[in-house]
Symmetry: D3
Subunit: 320 residues, 6 copies
């Protein structure tokens, strides 16, 4: 049973549109807070988008996600899980990026997550563009390569952009494999679609053993079957979950920078998160929410609902 200090404010006490918006109305426990060590799952914002090669905006993601998150109530309607009663959750604040220096920002992110890991906290991240996952993985995969379940419309496995630039939101997992942060044989990418420059990313995936599930296969096989395979691929060892909001069809999630039409529905977007049950998740992220392209906040609300589903899974003890 979690400590009441870590319980979110109820909408029956303070209407959901009121109050200083922390993630899911949890207490704001920054890295210098006296109760930091009691936190079990920490929600962290990475307000950064310097890796974006197309439309920018994810630097504003954490702010809008916090705002939308005050709509999240205490209990999962589908599964009945009440995560905030099971584990101590808190809003750890945002990593302070340097918007004008990409490499400095990457160091700042890794440094922040090093401290989180040192405190024994499992991080649940609200991005930020997808390059954010790389400096996070550098902190999380210190001991051994991780498995990864990756929801996205893009592989983000390209070698480089713009005549040799190696760090963009289209390359993080190429780097992560190269750096030994991911075990490619325990990586699955689900929902891939859209036009492509060439086959360079998929050739790399094939060469190292990354499993790609294109959207056509996803729709043909169905959510349950694909997720069963995903769980098998990552097995029982430590696994990262990276969820790009552009996995979802842009009708449901227009607020992103590089949308690809023809994706899953919001219902399926929640289902795949729920079906992570049993996976040994040592960290997860939801990235690429770009508020300037959806001022309504609906994309952020979907993103936050996905984060909540992941949190419910992460707060549930695994069997065996």
């Amino acid at each position: 049973m979690s400590d009441p200090f870590f319980h979110p404010v109820s909408g029956f006490d303070l209407p959901r549109f009121a109050g200083v918006p922390t993630f899911m109305r949890l207490p704001h426990v920054d890295l210098d807070h006296p109760r930091l060590s009691e936190v079990q799952i920490g929600l962290i914002g990475v307000p950064w988008d310097s890796g974006t090669t197309n439309r920018p905006g994810p630097r504003h993601g954490p702010r809008q996600l916090r705002d939308a998150s005050t709509m999240i109530r205490a209990q999962n309607g589908a599964t009945g899980v009440r995560p905030f009663e099971r584990v101590n959750c808190a809003d750890l604040g945002d990593v302070p990026p340097n918007p004008a220096d990409l490499l400095d920002s990457m160091e700042r992110i890794t440094g922040f997550y090093n401290r989180v890991m040192a405190a024994g906290i499992t991080p649940l991240t609200a991005g930020g563009d997808h390059l954010s996952s790389l400096p996070i993985l550098r902190a999380l995969a210190k001991n051994a390569p991780l498995g990864m379940i990756h929801f996205d419309s893009h592989t983000d496995l390209f070698h480089s952009y713009f005549n040799g630039t190696k760090y963009t939101h289209g390359t993080p997992f190429r780097r992560a494999v190269e750096e030994g942060l991911l075990d490619p044989k325990r990586v699955i990418q689900i929902g891939i679609r859209g036009t492509t420059y060439d086959m360079e990313d998929r050739d790399f995936a094939a060469s190292v053993g990354i499993r790609i599930v294109p959207i056509e296969e996803f729709f043909a096989r169905g959510v349950e079957d694909v997720m069963r395979e995903a769980r098998e691929i990552v097995g029982t060892e430590a696994t990262y979950v990276s969820y790009d909001i552009d996995f979802v069809d842009p009708a449901f999630a227009p607020g992103t920078g590089t949308p690809e039409v023809g994706g899953p529905t919001a219902f399926q977007a929640l289902q795949v998160a729920r079906l992570l049950g049993g996976v040994n998740i040592i960290g997860a992220d939801l990235v690429e929410v770009s508020p300037p392209f959806d001022a309504s906040g609906n994309t952020a609300f979907l993103g936050m609902s996905i984060l909540f589903e992941m949190l419910c899974v992460m707060s549930t003890p695994r069997e065996g």
Copy 2:
């Protein structure tokens, strides 16, 4: 065959963007109009949202729904029904609410519907937030409790909010059961989903016999099967239909105050309304359209299409 006075203006005579916008381009017949008694189905606006606990706006619903309704043509493309030729339909105008006095507004609404019932008119309501249904039911269920088919993402069965407040858009059907306006054994709620505060609403439902179909069951069983059960539950006796636009996924209906992601498509939203055929509908509503959150009017157009489907069913003689 209906009287030509009650036929809507055709888009071939006056383009659909032109003219004073009444509901479905029907004549405006207010409660003092000499031809009131000839009306069989009356469309009524309830521009009121004082029961809203989250984002307001449904007070603007009837205006935008009227505007969108001029896109509705004379014939149902799917079923071939031409409702305006079958029954005399009219726009009865709006109930005059008191935006700064919740209880006074409830009395005004009940009073308005008392007059509508006295004139022998079947009301088809464009809300307004969901609390609107309660004062309407007070006028409609004078003699005996009604059955209800309720489409929504929320049960609206909570006991109270904010330390004891009994009248909000989250409580109308708790009150309706308590007041004997609904027969809980003839009530079915379809599409329920999203996070919840606790199980207090569902425990109540279980205790009085209200049938809840969560969205997961809805998708698993399919529209036809769920609606077959719904028709069985309400049987042949008098039934109210209450349709909250947030039943539909917010990608299709973003203009609402408390959206829950992961709902049915617009096609399914129309299907469930069509499958009301045979139900003894003595009144129906479409509520929670909130124009400030969808200035495009697309949500209102969907809402009006649902109202038109319900009107087609209501204008069709039941068998036997």
Copy 3:
């Protein structure tokens, strides 16, 4: 193998948000350009909406479609086709319409396409409202009536509007059949739905042998089955493809003037285009994108993705 002159600019060389936006970043080859005769497939804009009876705006379609098209990369992710390497493609610019003279504009459009046909170019058109298809067909169907696969929520087969007006976006294919431009027995219309004025259009379709697939049938049978029938109906002879963006559900394509709720998803919208493989397409269009009703450009991006799918099919040699 196509000439490098006709290859689009890569997003790795020039970011996709940069540069003068031609269709799919192809060279702008106007009708007086020295290399016109080398073009095999020409993308053409018809910035015109004088046939619109409801909400205007498709005159702005080509501009927004060009803008969105810079998001299209070189390769089809689903089929692997790289159309720009197979055939010489170019942006032929826009037909200059006369926004204040409907008949003059129709002559200008036919004149433009006459020149395109004379140059031996297969036209792929970005509209424009649906009346645009009529003057295009006048240029394409000079020798014999064409077959047509038509995706739409409306039949566009009405006789006339507003007391006798024969040229509107609701009548082009009635005229095309009357003028002998289409062989009605080789015409199929897919996705028809929404309310209707009356049955005049469908009665005409039945009388001349046009096949209509209502949306209910489309969903019941599935994409593959319907498209198999479509390919059978048009056979191996010359066929036009006309794709109204309002075929797609407005959640996915809000930027159009006469939306009808309850349509296919974006994924299905792409699927039907892919399943045109094997059809003898001598021209195609994507019409009714109306930017004022979707400033985000998401509708245009879907429209352009559909055009790209059609281009991929058109660039692929047919068997036999």
Copy 4:
């Protein structure tokens, strides 16, 4: 003192967001209404934009202006005038245009206004694009050419567009002078600005004696001085007032099709209307409100405030 039948609904009785939206909440008295002959000033919508050479949308103007007009209360705060108590005002509905036939629409408009004039009603028009003024003037200036005070950023005096097209929203007053509907020596155009094709319009103005006040002169001299000259130019004889919303700076009135930056403020926009006092106004219009470019309705609210100011002046007995 006006008849209570013609008084608008008060916001104290029915909140301003409620009810069927007629112009200024006045009774809807169509041309066949039994009390038509009692109307003194009639508000009329012209939902038409076929003369638009640039961005379309004014066909939706009357609908949005009616919606915004329910914000207008009974009394002018600046002048104290209560127009609805002085004269019988009513909403006469919309002229039914033919969106696909420009010349037919012009005849329909003139026919409608002929009936209005025959009933002895002074028309106050909500457009529509600026070509609307021409068919209106044809009905109003039957006996003698009128004077005109014209607020606009464009002269609308061009000879023709697109290789000879004579009827567009850039030509109405060229035609009106040619047809003897306006006395050019009693015409003043105020607020002219922006880039121009050439000097053809201004050369014409100079040649026939139309007075043009460019925006630079307007700002330099001030509102009072310019309006004093305007009143002198039109004198005491019958005068038409034509007010294009693009007279106002687009920061205040973005919802128009051909904005020109650098115009007057909303306060000045109201002032010039107030300073029409004493002019012998036999008709007036407010045109070019284009809702697709300002879904918020703020432009329409300004437009309606201007119409109200003109109504106040028109309802006030002139001295002498």
Copy 5:
């Protein structure tokens, strides 16, 4: 010199789009915080709009104002004042309203401000609709009636609405005078404009000695002269400042529920706040920011800039 604990986070340390958004990036010090008694000026949100008679939304004001406030830097560019170094400022959080019970909410607000006053804190409020000012004044004017400088387009002095309702956002200052919270002879209302129901509010003002400066007089005399009079009227005794964002022209502040066209510019909006220097301000508010009508946040940013100007004045020692 203020305590560093109370200094806002600098944009040089944490980019302005990052972090949990408190007002002006100040520490969140709720009423139970151990350092509450050190706060000198407390920013408070009142997320409540039950008094709104027209378009709702100000309940969302505090959230959006907090978000926009992270754009405020440490120093006033015009006056050089650095308020956060002069006095201890903090974000005291939001009053918890009851959205479905108007009278209960008023009591909650007064109760909250009683605690603020008891702690010796000067409150600076971000509304909320204008009815919020009444329960605040009940806490602030316990000992003697206050003077008030009131910026608004409406007097908010009406007796009642909707057949006798006494508490709406159009009546707070009528009530405040009746209850002895304001000394009407020390009250000035600046910027009044727009249409009115009748003269009931102005007759009341005249009868009790409230000074009204209509917008026409404001523009004619200029900002300095009007504000000189305002300072004279309130004198050196305790004064409340109430600033309705609809004082400003809706081109600059569209995000409000009852806009009136023809108001001051943003520059003038800041000037009047700066010219409060020397006034004995014991509390101030900025109300009626309605985010649903300006999702861009621009209105909120202007509102926050006004609050910052007032804070600068309030943090500056008065002479003598």
Copy 6:
């Protein structure tokens, strides 16, 4: 007299919404074009925003500015200048930036402008964030420091951000002075306002002799007087003009990343550009248009109108 090849397409030949959108409908002459050397004034896009410390988006500026620029006609309505007849103007395309490598992008920009200068072309730039001006100045100020007239709400003179980062959009002119690209005694900055971090930028300005005109002084003295001083400060020697769209009040130009309320009107924004007459302009830019924050394109239209005013001045022979 310019060559007809360099004349823009007329809106009378091709409606302004039609055609591939180049800047002002000029021919697209890239740096490899055979007629490059004939160009006298070249419009160039810099689609880049890596220097942005706050809200991103200016990378999309050139695209939207091109789109808006098709509204620009051939003649300046205020001054009568017809620039395209005086000098050969062309769209030189966009500099290809590297969105993920700030320093590489700066080199690419300088390289591009080196080629432009080598071709003898005067560059007129559409940004891009304000850091763009630095690499441009590096190409333009090779021989001697330039004077500069700078319109902005910010000085952009800060030393560094985020713990030492020297290249951001808040630092370009600090660098330019340090690098000897600007002669600070011939630099004037007009319109400065808003809150500030501290006085570091202004202290630097004072120490090197840069003249700052705060907005309060600008309004007090008036446009003519300020611009007379500006012309005196830069004198007759080579001068750069840098125009940040956030100089203008955000009511007129909301589409920018770091707006400051309380600025000039659009009319004044044009006036200051016109009053550059006589200045020896060797290059100019208009920066910080951020389309994601104004999808309407109104900000871009104002930006383009300012660029047109500057073009008119630049195309006019200076006296003496």
